[in-house]
Symmetry: C2
Subunit: 267 residues, 2 copies
DNA sequence: ATGTCTTTGTGAACGCGTGCACAAAGATGG
DNA sequence: CCATCTTTGTGCACGCGTTCACAAAGACAT
């Protein structure tokens, strides 16, 4: 999960739980795959397997949408594709602007998964004048001076930020001021937005860090098979690189106002 | 959040809740920013604001790691950076391979957020012979024939898949067979892996679809201010594009409009 | 029509995550 | 040394999400 919702905390949207909404695209993908293979119907068990979830969960998810299945048979693939698409709002056209055409922005511009689901890349925007006019994925890059004009003319309500972290907030502000109400943020920053604007964040390095955590745990488990492990590796760690917990009062402990402090060099 | 864990369902890892682990990188980022500005200490309130979370949640999260704060003062920034880094396993070096050097793979290879957090790009791998030897982000691309050798020689345990969906599963199988135990998957497919292997998924289009859902809801709310809205737009929608609820034998019907095929083009 | 068999839809129980609210801990000043 | 003030750490309650398990619904055969 590279995901993390930000705004709109636990507000059930129109009776459909957030967790369910987040899984609908998953079902939709599995269903379109079946549709292409001309499979007419599918059971909750089969579809759940294809989507990588539990079948009970899938049935409950669908129950929020309505009773679209047939007992004893399963779900009609085409019908379900349509119902989910409609629920997600994919039956209409969503113009999207991508701001920041670096490697990532270019990758996004060329990503087939967008166009295939109702998202249309209305414009690519970059602050670098050298990029202006250069076609990326077949679309000419426009200069960020025209950001407001582009958004208003095309009625864009969804913006993707793929800029460096330093300028993400100001880009965000301009997008919002121009009328964008949903933002997908790839920059590693916390964006602050007014009420009514949704922000979703995708952070590439966070996912890796979570993997590292589990990886470390796996490695630790197999070496310290016994109990011993439980007793905080604190002492051992302290021997390696021990910034003092706090100046402390009495302790002679090396207080380090700016002690060496290991690793994690600045981004 | 663009994210979604896959394997390892609700297993509390060593007493630290998954939800907390997922937030640690967030805190770490905020803390390193403070560290760069040489801020010595920070209160839970301030740090929570910087990380975009609730302060009670932050304190509870930290309480799982231990008592690293000082009442009446706050947390020592440097010390906390170290503790979180250690908990996440970032004090050690994690060699990572990226498979599939298209636009996205190239973006990942050059992403600063990796190197700055203990992740080292050990190799870039692509199946296209034309790519072999070509430097991307300063690292020469290697051919996928050498995948197993690279992984074993470098002791790589984390792999990133940025290939087209069609080959993601086989790439995954080869990675796992060669010894990789954590996988970050950018291909829009459900990967199946043996027990003991962690998979995390980042799907760019899923995030947009979730945004679209909320966007649609927002738009619907303001236009249908009254009750009327509640009564399923079923009939109206059916008039627009109504695949029969149970196509049965007759209508083979509209094949999937979108070639789902994901892109993330290989070269 | 009737019975059997498959699969959905959901009531209910459970567990995790979140947020409140407060006591305990320590800093700071007199 | 005592009083006051700030901020942490956490017990507790609540709500969301997940899972189980089963009754109801329909297909299908006889």
């Amino acid at each position: 999960m590279a995901t993390g919702r930000t705004h709109r905390p636990a507000t059930r949207s129109r009776g459909i739980p957030e967790a369910t909404v987040a899984r609908l695209p998953l079902y939709l993908r599995a269903l379109t795959a079946l549709s292409e293979r001309s499979v007419p119907t599918v059971s909750s068990e089969e579809l759940a397997a294809a989507a990588g979830v539990n079948s009970a969960k899938l049935r409950k998810d669908f129950s929020y949408l309505g009773s679209y299945g047939t007992r004893g048979v399963g779900y009609d693939v085409e019908y379900l594709v349509y119902q989910i698409s409609r629920e997600l709002g994919l039956t209409q056209d969503w113009p999207v602007v991508i701001v920041g055409i670096g490697n990532l922005g270019a990758a996004l511009a060329g990503y087939g998964g967008f166009a295939s689901r109702g998202f249309r890349v209305a414009a690519l925007i970059d602050a670098d004048p050298a990029m202006t006019g250069k076609p990326v994925a077949g679309i000419p890059v426009q200069h960020s001076d025209d950001l407001e004009k582009i958004i208003e003319e095309d009625g864009v309500s969804i913006g993707v930020i793929a800029t460096p972290a330093g300028v993400a907030q100001q880009v965000c502000d301009r997008l919002v001021a121009a009328g964008v109400t949903s933002i997908l943020n790839f920059a590693p920053t916390v964006l602050s937005v007014p009420d009514g604007v949704d922000v979703r964040k995708v952070d590439l390095s966070i996912e890796l860090q979570i993997l590292a955590f589990h990886e470390q745990r796996k490695a630790g488990e197999e070496s310290n098979a016994e109990a011993e492990a439980e007793a905080e590796a604190e002492t051992a760690a302290a021997a390696v690189a021990p910034p003092a917990p706090r100046g402390t009062t009495g302790g002679a402990g090396r207080k380090g106002p700016d002690g060496d402090v290991p690793a994690v060099m600045p981004a």
